[in-house]
Symmetry: C2
Subunit: 122 residues, 2 copies
DNA sequence: AACAGTAATAGTAATCATTACTATTTAGCG
DNA sequence: CGCTAAATAGTAATGATTACTATTACTGTT
């Protein structure tokens, strides 16, 4: 993987923010300062950065991939009202019984809690 | 919610299977016997059934919503090689520290383990 | 510093899952 | 049976993501 200015921009955009932006949001945040940046480039580099472990994809069910610049293992909360994603800094522990299955080998765990945030309480 | 024959078909198709089918897969499995069933009807009813808690959506990151006919709380394993989904029958426990946050109220938890199945081992 | 080779980009078109729309059908109640 | 609203079929539209291609720009070599 060869250096590219755009990839650095994109990585910084995700790392520099505590929200969990989608490709579209990253593109919007960079486009004003970099009018020639292409949305396809954002998509491709987010995928590359996720593959190389520099950012983490989050699949919340809103039909868009979000990315987290904090790769330290932790969980997320997703509000069913406003779709906001909140970091929960507890380290999920993969149970031994799951690690020792014959059927498959677990490499990572993703845990999402769903509910309602204070603003969206029913 | 009024009874419909189509909804019953769709519910049975998801409940009657241990795979975790997408709307498309449900449609395919029913279309031969029910040539007038519409894909839109499948999508709408899967969403309705999920909302009423009769089936559970799973977001694995493959950009398609899968559904699980088993609503008993449990986890899933997703193979990074073949994308197969395997049930893991351990009941995830929502940690007290998460249940007692002021910021939000957790209603459910979804945990997915990622790795490689035996067939896709590297 | 020019050169070559090849990965990366920009810009646009295409794809794929899902949702929206509308005329028609049907559940279910009086 | 007949009414009314909910549900469906079939098709069109949307929205996120990927594919494609000509051009640009890293990086190792002379």
């Amino acid at each position: 993987m060869r250096y590219s200015h755009q990839r650095e921009l994109i990585l910084d955009a995700v790392k520099g923010v505590k929200t969990h932006p989608t490709a579209d949001m990253v593109y919007d945040s960079l486009h004003a300062e970099n009018p020639h940046l292409s949305l396809g480039t954002v998509y491709r580099n987010l995928a590359l950065l996720a593959m190389s472990g520099e950012i983490t994809p989050i699949y919340t069910g809103d039909n868009k991939v979000h990315y987290d610049g904090d790769t330290d293992p932790h969980c997320h909360f997703v509000c069913k009202g406003c779709s906001k994603i909140i970091d929960i800094f507890i380290t999920p522990k993969i149970p031994d019984e799951v690690l020792h299955k014959e059927e498959f080998k677990v490499e990572e765990e993703k845990t999402i809690f769903y509910g309602r945030c204070r603003d969206c309480a029913v």
